[in-house]
């Protein structure tokens, strides 16, 4: 690597860190409830070695009954101990994982193609990737999981090339660790490795003495995960997210019976069988992950997962990916097989759950998409000689980038506050200021999980919470209620209502979002005892 190439790589990493860390404590505007839960559980582990459900050093975290994996939470503990419990510390792990993924991706592409220019372009494209940036700026488990997976895979490649068992062992361990960090990798990682083992069977057969120990280690490390998956909690999680609904099947069959011609109705119990129905649901969900509208125009419909006003990829990626389709035959067969398998298998975790397409559950697709886009761009840069075309292309590229930055830093915090439960921080901060004046505090649960935000923003002592057996209904002087609850028989209380509720009391303040809309209203209520 020349000095110039090192400088370019450093610049790329600087761009990556800036785009992922600038204002990350306040944009996204507020902590999503999963972030709050992850942060508080890491804090609780740090202080008490128990999660907030009183489990000692759990392997799987109960959280909101969704049973989170341990990877992000345990990896977060040192950051919480250094930076304290706040938005920045909770998101810092994601930021660093995102940055390091760019570096490892560069190394991976260099290893597979022996083309430093292509590797630098690929690293740059990942550094500015809207898809990757979106999930690197908040505490999404998928981001460190992707980093672990890419690093583990890179180590396996290097190990096979240099015949080093230590790299193989470490690589396998990291791949398994990715499965303990985000649920999607429980499906993607083993499937991808299995497919690669089949594709490169002959090569691996020659190395069987090397791969026995790492494979055995990977299987042993996976055993607790397999046990969890088959447990009641694991099944509960799977069914709660499942795309395969028997009610939907029945509804479709009923519609068919009611609206089709009589002679064809006898076929309905032959056609609407579970395997047939669910297979077509899975097929549609799978293919939607390659929808050009999803990739280049609108992105994921969930506000936390994309800008929604643009695709998961830039519009210019349409041109570079189109070019890559033509140029891809020039790649080494091994490299093409690896990235093609990666691309085709990436949507699998998003297929079996709702909604689909799901940018978070298929985040691993950003790697092959970025690679192929870089491949197309590299080809165009080599072949295009006309200065006019180069100027137009660079202008369009810069315009796309500036438009995206405008969406990310200016529009996004104003538009998607509700997706990030914006308002909770200011509400809790106000409540803390005045709470000594009130014997009881009632907080609305209309926006979801108020107990977690109260715990997080008050940095409530986890030991106290555990000792008093706190729950989502209340702890200490805090109670969390619906807007149907009668708050007028509780004596003198502080009541935090949602914006739409009319309350018979003295309003102390309103809590606004960035757009100036009221999120919470805080009241003093003098009720009957």
């Amino acid at each position: 690597m020349t000095k110039a190439e090192k400088i370019i790589l450093l610049l790329i990493l600087s761009v990556a860190i800036f785009l992922r860390s600038y204002n990350t404590a306040i944009n996204p505007p507020g902590l999503y409830w999963d972030e709050a839960s992850i942060g508080y559980d890491a804090y609780s582990i740090l202080k008490t070695a128990h999660d907030h459900h009183r489990h000692f050093m759990p392997l799987f975290f109960e959280s909101y009954g969704d049973w989170k994996l341990p990877g992000y939470i345990y990896l977060l503990v040192p950051f919480i101990s250094i930076f304290g419990l706040n938005e920045l510390s909770v998101r810092f792990l994601s930021v660093m994982s995102g940055l390091l993924t760019v570096l490892v991706f560069y190394l991976l592409v260099k290893e597979l193609t022996a083309n430093i220019k292509l590797a630098l372009i690929a690293a740059f494209f990942l550094a500015i990737s809207p898809w990757h940036i979106q999930f690197s700026r908040a505490a999404f488990e998928a981001t460190p999981a992707l980093f672990l997976f890419v690093t583990g895979f890179y180590l396996l490649l290097v190990a096979v090339k240099r015949q080093k068992i230590s790299y193989l062992t470490l690589g396998s361990a990291l791949l398994v660790l990715s499965m303990y960090t985000y649920h999607a990798y429980r499906i993607f990682a083993p499937t991808f490795m299995l497919v690669l083992a089949l594709l490169f069977y002959k090569k691996l057969k020659k190395l069987r003495s090397l791969i026995v120990l790492p494979t055995f280690l990977a299987i042993v490390l996976s055993v607790p995960l397999i046990i969890f998956t088959l447990s009641e909690q694991g099944k509960l999680r799977a069914t709660s997210q499942s795309a395969f609904s028997f009610d939907e099947l029945r509804k479709s069959r009923l519609e068919y019976d009611q609206k089709s011609k009589k002679p064809l109705r006898f076929l309905s119990n032959k056609v609407f069988t579970e395997p047939m129905y669910y297979s077509q649901v899975a097929l549609k969900n799978y293919l939607e992950n390659f929808s050009p509208v999803y990739l280049f125009v609108n992105g994921d419909s969930v506000g936390r997962h994309s800008q929604v006003d643009m695709g998961q990829l830039y519009f210019f990626d349409l041109i570079t990916l189109g070019t890559a389709i033509v140029v891809v035959t020039k790649l080494k067969k091994q490299t093409l097989k690896i990235f093609a398998a990666w691309l085709l298998l990436s949507p699998l975790p998003a297929v079996i759950v709702t909604p689909s397409p799901h940018a978070l559950r298929s985040l691993q697709a950003v790697i092959p998409f970025t690679f192929f886009s870089a491949l197309g761009a590299n080809y165009l840069l080599t072949k295009v000689r006309s200065k006019v075309i180069i100027v137009i292309a660079v202008t369009l590229f810069c315009y796309s980038l500036v438009s995206y930055l405008n969406l990310l830093f200016v529009h996004y915090p104003r538009k998607f506050g509700p997706d990030w439960q914006e308002g909770y921080k200011n509400m809790v901060n106000f409540v803390v200021k005045v709470q000594d004046n009130y014997p009881k505090i009632y907080i609305t649960s209309a926006y979801g999980m108020p107990h977690m935000y109260t715990l997080f923003y008050t940095k409530y002592n986890p030991q106290s919470y555990i000792d008093q057996k706190g729950s989502e209904n209340g702890f200490d002087k805090y109670s969390f209620v619906t807007d149907q609850t009668d708050i007028y028989d509780k004596g003198r209380i502080l009541y935090v209502s949602p914006s739409w509720q009319k309350v018979d009391g003295t309003k102390l303040t309103d809590i606004f979002n960035l757009n100036g809309d009221i999120v919470f209203s805080i009241w003093e209520v003098n009720g009957r005892n």
Partner: protein, 195 residues
């Protein structure tokens, strides 16, 4: 040998076109086809909603980033790319038709035959027509016809491989089930009735 191949070719094309005809027949129960047409009336509202979010940004910069040209490009691209949505293509072509179309696309890239390229161009042109025409039924028929022709060009390749032949017949059966389950074609039509 050649005669057998030709018989197979005719059989496969007949099966494929038969399946597409069945799908076309199903669509005759539709009262209101969903429109693919680009609506220019959304431009101003789109520009205004974007500019309203540009708080703290100099007005010339906001106008450069969000104007009728950029909004029109986004809206037109969105409508155009909608005609290539997998859900939409799956609904009209079914799994077998989509498989044949993808095979045809791969062959176009590999062989660069004129017939394949012209057929592909036909798809791009019919998609442009779809977002311009005011009658959604005609738009859909144009798209359907162009994709059906493109998909059937892969038959020559299918008959050369036993594995592809087996896959063809399996997908043929599966597509019938698919068309039956997706009788209502929600991506294409508001409601389908047979009285």
């Amino acid at each position: 040998m050649v005669a057998t191949k030709n018989i197979f070719k005719i059989l496969l094309v007949t099966l494929l076109l038969g399946l597409f005809s069945f799908r076309l027949w199903q669509s005759t129960g539709c009262k209101n086809f969903n429109s693919l047409r680009f609506n220019p009336n959304v431009l101003i509202a789109g520009v205004e909603s974007q500019r309203n979010l540009d708080v703290g940004i100099p007005i010339p910069v906001s106008k450069l980033l969000h104007n009728k040209v950029t909004e029109a490009l986004t809206q037109v691209s969105s409508r155009y790319l909608n005609t290539f949505k997998p859900k939409f293509l799956l609904e009209i072509l079914g799994p077998l038709g989509l498989f044949c179309a993808l095979l045809s696309a791969a062959l176009t890239i590999r062989t660069r035959k004129k017939s394949q390229i012209f057929s592909l161009l036909g798809i791009f042109i019919s998609s442009v027509a779809a977002i311009v025409l005011t009658q959604p039924k005609i738009s859909l028929l144009l798209i359907f016809a162009s994709w059906a022709v493109f998909a059937s060009l892969s038959i020559n390749f299918v008959i050369r491989s036993k594995m592809l032949l087996v896959l063809f017949f399996l997908l043929f059966v599966y597509t019938y089930f698919f068309y039956s389950i997706n009788w209502q074609m929600p991506v294409i039509c508001n409601e389908i009735f047979f009285n």
